[in-house]
């Protein structure tokens, strides 16, 4: 009796969860259905053509090089900042995290506007690596902050040198952080549109956009999307396999002692030079370009009304999008934390699949579907908001879920036992407890939307310009000066999230 009552109460929630996840799976479902519907006769020639091979080669070449370089830079910089006696390590941490506040397409704009030399494979590798190395750097810094001294000391007591002890006892424990960061870089590279378009380096994302501009929603575009999604999924699987079944556990109680910092000694100048060089390239170049175009650019103008209208539509879209995304994340988080079952776990996992969906794929799928199935919605704000929700639901879900995990269910039960209705319990007990998580999730999504370019470019209703699309219109037609004010606002929009992430992953002081 009791059990059926509970199940009956849970099922509308489960249904809501299913609907939400179904919504996020629309783009993926569309690609699969459309590809299958094409049949081998049509699919074959669109898939087995040299262009696809060329794009695949380009994309993989870029992917491998940037993942390796960002990993090397990210891990190297993290070790320098966290584990050595380098001077000014707090400052270095801030400077090394800061490139995250410069969207990759703004960074490319900086480089391309100064020299067309970067419009090449090497240039693309350089600029993209400089934009994305913080995605490895930050998790590794966070990982290093949790390491304690004991394993390395054991290694040393067995005769290893300082460096060898670090490599054999500490590095393996950083593997999850490194792999996680490398995976993020890989997914970003696969999804990157604006930066690569400016760098004139064709990959799947830029080719899909070309298809859209030339043939609108075509089968060829869908096929390219399908291959791109496949690459993303393979990358996710690759990371899962590389992570393997290895377990990293700590035995023992109490607070672990911090490892002693490595003394750089005569290597100090080399390390400092490397960091100065890195910051100059990753942060100095785009900021210099921006300042240059703000001051001397011939097309620089301050169309105040256009700037403010773009700013307001950006803020409006980001606010509504963040609210919608968080609203969608809440039932899912609730299901996973409070109504754990095979079904709810499956729902949550499915929602994370969207993490692997590039903006261009989501946008193209929504265009095709809306124009064929619900033409009334084509070119409207709701479709754009749905795209944002699909793209950023995983970010909101992570925050809401973790705050809900920290809200003890026993408090709800107490409230219920004191006679509160379930709705009032939710409103008066649970909601206040999880609202910081909701706020953080909403903030992350808000910031992500405010610098989103690809999906906005394709889906924003006619006449709606955001900072990103205005920036794009100018920079892609070589009006570097006119693009500068928008670039500045975009950096300001990305700054709060960067500060938040950099603070979460602060290097801890070593034992001295």
């Amino acid at each position: 009796m009791m059990a059926t009552a509970v199940r009956r109460r849970a099922s509308p929630l489960l249904l809501t969860g299913v609907v939400i996840v179904a919504l996020t799976l629309i783009p993926l479902g569309h690609i699969v259905v459309a590809t299958v519907a094409m049949g081998p006769g049509e699919l074959g020639p669109l898939l087995w053509r040299p262009r696809v091979g060329e794009l695949l080669g380009n994309t993989l070449k870029l992917l491998v090089a940037t993942v390796l370089i960002t990993t090397a830079i990210g891990v190297g910089a993290a070790v320098l900042v966290s584990r050595t006696d380098l001077i000014g390590r707090g400052w270095w941490h801030a400077l090394l995290s800061a490139p995250l506040a410069v969207p990759a397409f703004v960074n490319s704009y900086g480089w391309v506007s100064l020299t067309s030399e970067v419009q090449s494979y090497a240039g693309a590798v350089l600029v993209v690596s400089l934009s994305y190395y913080p995605l490895v750097y930050l998790p590794v810094v966070a990982g290093l902050a949790t390491l304690e001294a004991a394993p390395e000391e054991v290694a040393r007591s067995l005769g290893r040198s300082r460096v060898s002890a670090f490599l054999s006892a500490a590095l393996p424990r950083l593997l999850p952080a490194v792999l996680g960061g490398a995976l993020l870089v890989g997914l970003h590279v696969l999804a990157e549109f604006g930066a690569l378009q400016l760098l004139a380096y064709p990959t799947f994302t830029t080719a899909i956009y070309g298809q859209y501009l030339s043939a609108f929603s075509s089968d060829a575009g869908t096929v390219l999307s399908g291959v791109l999604v496949l690459l993303c999924v393979l990358l996710l699987l690759g990371e899962l396999i590389a992570r393997g079944r290895r377990r990293l556990v700590r035995v023992g109680r109490g607070t672990g002692r911090r490892p002693e910092p490595l003394e750089l000694g005569r290597w100090t100048p080399v390390a400092l030079l490397a960091l100065v060089g890195l910051v100059a390239l990753a942060l100095g170049v785009p900021l210099y370009a921006l300042a240059h175009w703000m001051v001397v650019g011939s097309s620089t103008e301050f169309p105040v009304s256009e700037l403010t209208s773009a700013l307001f539509s950006t803020l409006g879209l980001a606010a509504v999008g963040a609210a919608l995304t968080v609203l969608m994340a809440m039932p899912l988080a609730w299901l996973v934390v409070r109504r754990r079952s095979a079904a709810s776990t499956l729902l949550e996992r499915s929602a994370y699949i969207a993490n692997a969906l590039p903006g261009i794929v989501v946008a193209l799928a929504l265009i095709t579907i809306s124009i064929r199935v619900v033409p009334a919605l084509y070119q409207t704000v709701p479709v754009l908001l749905v795209a944002y929700a699909i793209l950023f639901l995983p970010r909101a879900l992570v925050s809401v879920r973790s705050s809900l995990e920290h809200a003890p269910v026993v408090l709800d039960e107490v409230a219920r036992s004191l006679g509160e209705s379930s709705w009032r319990t939710f409103r008066r007990v649970t909601l206040p407890l999880v609202s910081p998580g909701i706020g953080a999730g909403a903030a992350l999504v808000f910031l992500a939307i405010s610098t989103e370019l690809t999906a906005t470019l394709l889906l924003s209703p006619i006449g709606t310009d955001t900072l990103a699309t205005k920036f794009w219109a100018n920079s892609s037609s070589v009006k570097y000066g006119a693009a500068a004010p928008y670039a500045l606002l975009l950096i300001l929009a990305a700054l709060p999230a960067t500060v938040m992430l950099a603070r979460q992953a602060r290097p801890r002081e070593g034992a001295r």
Partner: protein, 339 residues
């Protein structure tokens, strides 16, 4: 508790405000206006629209996007489309809307102002501006004597690594459509394959111009006005370059037509007719001629002038404007692995 719930409430209030904005904006709709779906350069049409409003008191509501975006939006919206007027940069998008039967036939008095080769025989729409295909070349890299006599020559192996173009979007497609209409499928296929082998692809004619000016590529296929505009500004991206007009009825002398049409289901048909009348009149055309745009005007009463090579001297090939087939063009470009 109140303090904790604050982030949530802030989001909710912001969301409500943002949702209310479009509603407020929609209240501004009134009878004395005309809705223009505009794919032409925004700055240009804003100038025309402001003069139109000053003269007639009719408010112009502009919705700006690209040729294919807007054409497909109109098709999706069908009979309930709010569009009264549709303006494009190139004609294939006009053909798309015409073939869907959504245009109203234009007033013969308007049509007569524009030479017959810049409008379809159906009278469903008309050209109002035009742009010529040109080859821009870096004067340090290529001598005038070595310039190709036909755009088809650029497929020749001797131009390997020496040509750039911007294949995405309606501009280049219109040029390919011209080649296709003049030389047929087989020749177009060969030409595209040669271009793919020889050329560097960029996104946008401005980027092509800059790359030629920097010497990254020796020549580039663009429309004429990109070069003239840059020259009028400061020559920052064109001072090391010159223009080569193919002329001689070569496919490379193809002129692409910017079209204007009235939607049959528009709510402001009379105002739309007035707008087209103004756009094609000597007065409206003079605004285009005097603007920064440097595109050719089509009403002979208001020629472009300036320092641009006159329309009458271009010697374009004869292409029936309604023969431009964008579906086949895209197919051929895909086959050539350009798209």
């Amino acid at each position: 508790m109140l303090a904790l719930a604050r982030p949530l409430r802030t989001v909710a209030v912001a969301a409500a405000a943002a949702l209310a904005l479009p509603l407020l904006a929609a209240c501004g709709d009134d009878a004395n206006s005309v809705v223009v779906y505009n794919a032409q350069h925004e700055e240009l049409i804003v100038e025309v629209a402001e003069a139109f409003t000053a003269k007639t008191g009719i408010k112009v509501e502009l919705r700006n996007a690209k040729d294919l975006d807007l054409a497909n939006t109109i098709l999706a919206e069908g009979k309930s489309s709010p569009a009264d007027v549709f303006l494009t940069e190139n004609s294939p998008a006009m053909a798309l809307v015409e073939n869907a039967g959504l245009f109203a036939t234009l007033d013969p008095a308007v049509l007569e102002r524009i030479p017959a080769n810049f409008r379809p025989t159906s009278g469903a729409w008309t050209g109002f501006a035009a742009r010529s295909t040109v080859l821009v070349y870096n004067t340090n890299e290529v001598a005038e004597a070595d310039l190709p006599s036909s755009i088809l020559d650029l497929a020749d192996p001797k131009w390997r690594g020496k040509v750039s173009f911007s294949p995405t979007g309606a501009d280049f497609q219109a040029i390919v459509a011209g080649v296709l209409a003049l030389k047929g499928e087989a020749a177009t296929r060969d030409w595209l394959a040669g271009l793919k082998a020889n050329g560097t692809q960029y996104d946008g004619n401005n980027v092509v111009l800059r790359s030629v000016n920097n010497g990254d590529t020796a020549t580039g296929i663009i429309y004429h006005y990109y070069w003239y505009r840059d020259q009028e500004e400061a020559g920052e991206n064109s001072d090391n370059t010159a223009l080569h007009f193919f002329g001689d009825a070569d496919p490379g002398a193809f002129i692409s037509t910017s079209g204007a049409g009235i939607l049959a289901n528009g709510k402001h048909r009379e105002n739309a007719a007035k707008f087209l009348d103004f756009l094609t009149s000597a007065e409206g055309q003079q605004i285009i001629a005097d603007s920064y745009a440097l595109e050719y005007t089509l009403n002979p009463e208001a020629p472009l002038g300036r320092k641009v090579k006159p329309l009458a001297e271009l010697m374009p090939p004869e292409v029936a404007i309604s023969d431009l087939d964008s579906a086949t063009v895209v197919e051929l470009m895909q086959e050539a692995n350009i798209l």
